[in-house]
Symmetry: C2
Subunit: 305 residues, 2 copies
């Protein structure tokens, strides 16, 4: 029942202080979903012992290099390792031509790559499997950009095992009961579903917002998220720089987190001007105490509730 | 009078054990020449405190990704750091279209990139400045590939200072004497150049050979080099694998070094199958004892003789 985020890189555009560019892996029940793919992705997988064989979908937010320059190397090495399974790349339409330009120079590409262009100007379902649904989150940046909202699928209700024997419920009826049906016994009596089952845990959500200026239009889209990653390239002292480059401050990130009443905020995409990041954490915590300072290799587990 | 090689990455195609893909910097009198540019180049510059502002020429041997995927990130970050000076990329002709495809997505590219296609099938002078001449070294690999030979410029002879006063030599004549002229004194007597000057140190040479199978045609081209880097992807036990992938064994590298009577051999481009590299070193040293095991961050200084 894992729902766990690993940050593989937390640097802004220019890597510094051993922080790699932006890339993350969301592990949902041992299936990996990758979000952005900064330079050095394949090395980070190795550094942190993450098995890229479990990766089937990869989501690219926008075409600034620090968010996708790791793709050619990762794809090449997957090929050299004999991958057979298709990999789907969700991202801006122009991503395909860039990767295809490089593909003739990738030795032994033994698997298919499927390109799936995504809308960047609206909130839309772009992918679903039996574990999650993924929606775009329109961001405001110097080029078109979209974050991603991962929403766990609603699980069925749980059958109370001790009642199966008590009421003599045939096993073939259990799926219907888990889906919400009452049980009608042989004597015609009705056993209500609320008695037979317990409610499922609340589906968990993870919202990824990078790169973006402070944008209140995100608030309703990430409302109540269990975990929000929001870029915090600068602190308030560098607000003019943040506005010029269309990035956020740690305070901006905290304002979104507070308004959206998320459970936890994790920061990242730090400017290379900051060797120590405590100033960013302190700034965000003033407004939103449940803030984590993201770090390369850092993991955030989202528990079931 | 520095002539010093720094290895930034010593991995073969798939990075492993904290070894990054192939990239090197040759420092000749504080001007940097970069050779290949594997993924993570910009991080390695930072890791090892090498200032990329001093880099003006970059030489790409061939278009396998582990030799050039670091270019987009390095170029982007140079731009973000406000570089103004032109950067010249020597490499296979197709490199240009690949980099140009990405350039619209590089923020703030504040400097010019000049692409200089190189021949890969012959030994040819491709660049010279006042410090070095650079020649291609045709390699035999699964795609067209060329190594590089860096040859230090011949310095002028050194004037023996104590003789300037003794013979009353006018300073304006010194450049000619350093270039080899005798000195004809006012009384008509001839002071031979051999007396007035000492010979310059021998120009130093560095030969870079990656990726390639064992190729005896390299021997005359790298004859007597002060330093030879030769790929050693495998050891002899993996010879079938070496032949299939058109790479060399450590023994192959040593055979070239011995036949060419180089001063020193440095190995690299190790397969990800080797965690420990002592087997490769031992194999090469059997044939050629002056062998170094290249490592990420390792430096090899070539002294004047």
């Amino acid at each position: 029942m894992k729902f766990e985020l690993t940050l593989l890189g937390t640097s802004g555009a220019v890597p510094a202080y051993s922080r790699f560019p932006t890339m993350q892996v969301l592990n949902v029940q041992e299936t990996l979903y990758m979000i952005d793919c900064g330079e050095g992705a394949q090395m980070r997988f190795t550094d942190y012992g993450i098995r890229w064989g479990r990766l089937k979908q990869l989501f690219i937010s926008h075409l600034h290099g620090d968010h996708f320059y790791g793709l050619p190397g990762l794809i090449s090495s997957m090929g050299l390792n004999g991958r057979k399974e298709e990999l789907t790349l969700f991202g801006p339409a122009a991503l395909e031509s860039m990767i295809r330009t490089m593909m003739p120079y990738m030795t032994k590409l033994s698997f298919e790559i499927k390109f799936q262009p995504i809308p960047q100007d609206r909130h839309e379902l772009i992918f679903e499997d039996r574990r999650v649904q993924v929606f775009t989150l329109p961001l405001q940046h110097s080029i078109a950009a979209a974050g991603f909202l991962f929403r766990e699928r609603q699980r069925p209700r749980s059958m109370r095992g001790e009642l199966i024997e008590k009421y003599g419920i045939p096993y073939r009826q259990i799926p219907a009961i888990k889906a919400g049906a009452d049980y009608v016994a042989e004597d015609g009596s009705n056993i209500p579903n609320e008695l037979l089952t317990t409610p499922p845990p609340k589906p968990r959500t993870y919202a990824y917002c990078s790169d973006t200026v402070y944008s209140e239009s995100l608030v309703p889209l990430v409302q109540g998220a269990d975990l929000l990653y929001h870029e915090a390239t600068f602190c308030e002292r560098e607000r003019p720089q943040a506005e010029r480059t269309q990035h956020s401050t740690a305070m901006d990130a905290a304002r979104i987190a507070r308004q959206a009443q998320v459970r936890q905020l994790v920061l990242g995409h730090y400017s290379s001007r900051y060797k120590y990041l405590d100033v960013l954490l302190a700034e965000a915590c003033q407004l939103f105490p449940d803030t984590l300072l993201g770090s390369d290799g850092g993991m955030v587990n989202v528990p079931l509730r």
